[in-house]
């Protein structure tokens, strides 16, 4: 039986309100871009689920296909793809990211 990565990702994304696909874990990011997003989520004081894509090559490729987005990190809020490092940073700076999260009761 082949693995259904798409279904696994869908379940992961819908299991928590904020999900970050990243390289490394929240305590020790393995990439500067992932570290930036972790830092922003901590500054916003929002709990999140971190998925370390380095532990699973199929998830690492799978999330890129799922989101149609070529890079890691990737942030999902209530099941919706918000963006990668550049977009998250821009939305944090404009206050939009906090606004989106708070409008969803997070």
């Amino acid at each position: 039986m082949t693995r259904n990565v798409h279904a696994e990702l869908e379940a992961t994304i819908n299991a928590s309100p904020i999900v970050l696909f990243m390289k490394g874990d929240a305590e020790m990011p393995q990439c500067g871009f992932s570290a930036v997003v972790v830092q922003i989520l901590k500054l916003l004081d929002k709990p999140f689920t971190a998925v370390n894509v380095l532990l699973d090559p199929e998830i690492r490729q799978g999330i890129k296909d799922y989101s149609n987005w070529p890079t890691i990190p990737q942030l999902y809020v209530t099941g919706e793809f918000v963006g990668g490092c550049d977009i998250v940073r821009e939305m944090y700076q404009t206050g939009e990211l906090r606004q989106i999260m708070e409008s969803k009761g997070l």
């Binding site: 987005w69 070529p70 890079t71 963006g83 490092c85 550049d86 977009i87 821009e90 939305m91």
Partner: protein, 77 residues
């Protein structure tokens, strides 16, 4: 295999002929770039869609031979 700045510029311009493109080689290593791109093709699109347009223009190189390209996309009236 890093990508040359001229090639990045040319690929984006081929897909978005009206684009005003400013690319900086951040580390001088041909592997970490920042690009600001202004195009009417971004009008009415979400940020995610705007960046997806650029990634499509780069023909799958982003995340592969092009390791780091920090993107800022701007609409054009």
């Amino acid at each position: 295999m890093p990508m040359r700045q001229e090639d990045i510029h040319a690929m984006i311009l081929a897909a978005l002929p009206d684009a005003e493109i400013d690319i900086k080689d951040l580390a001088g290593d041909g592997d970490h770039y920042a690009a600001t791109i202004k195009s009417a093709a971004f009008n009415g699109k979400s940020r995610v869609q705007q960046h997806q347009i650029v990634y499509t223009a780069l023909g799958g190189r982003m995340g592969g031979e092009l390791h780091a390209l920090a993107l800022t996309t701007l609409t054009k009236e």
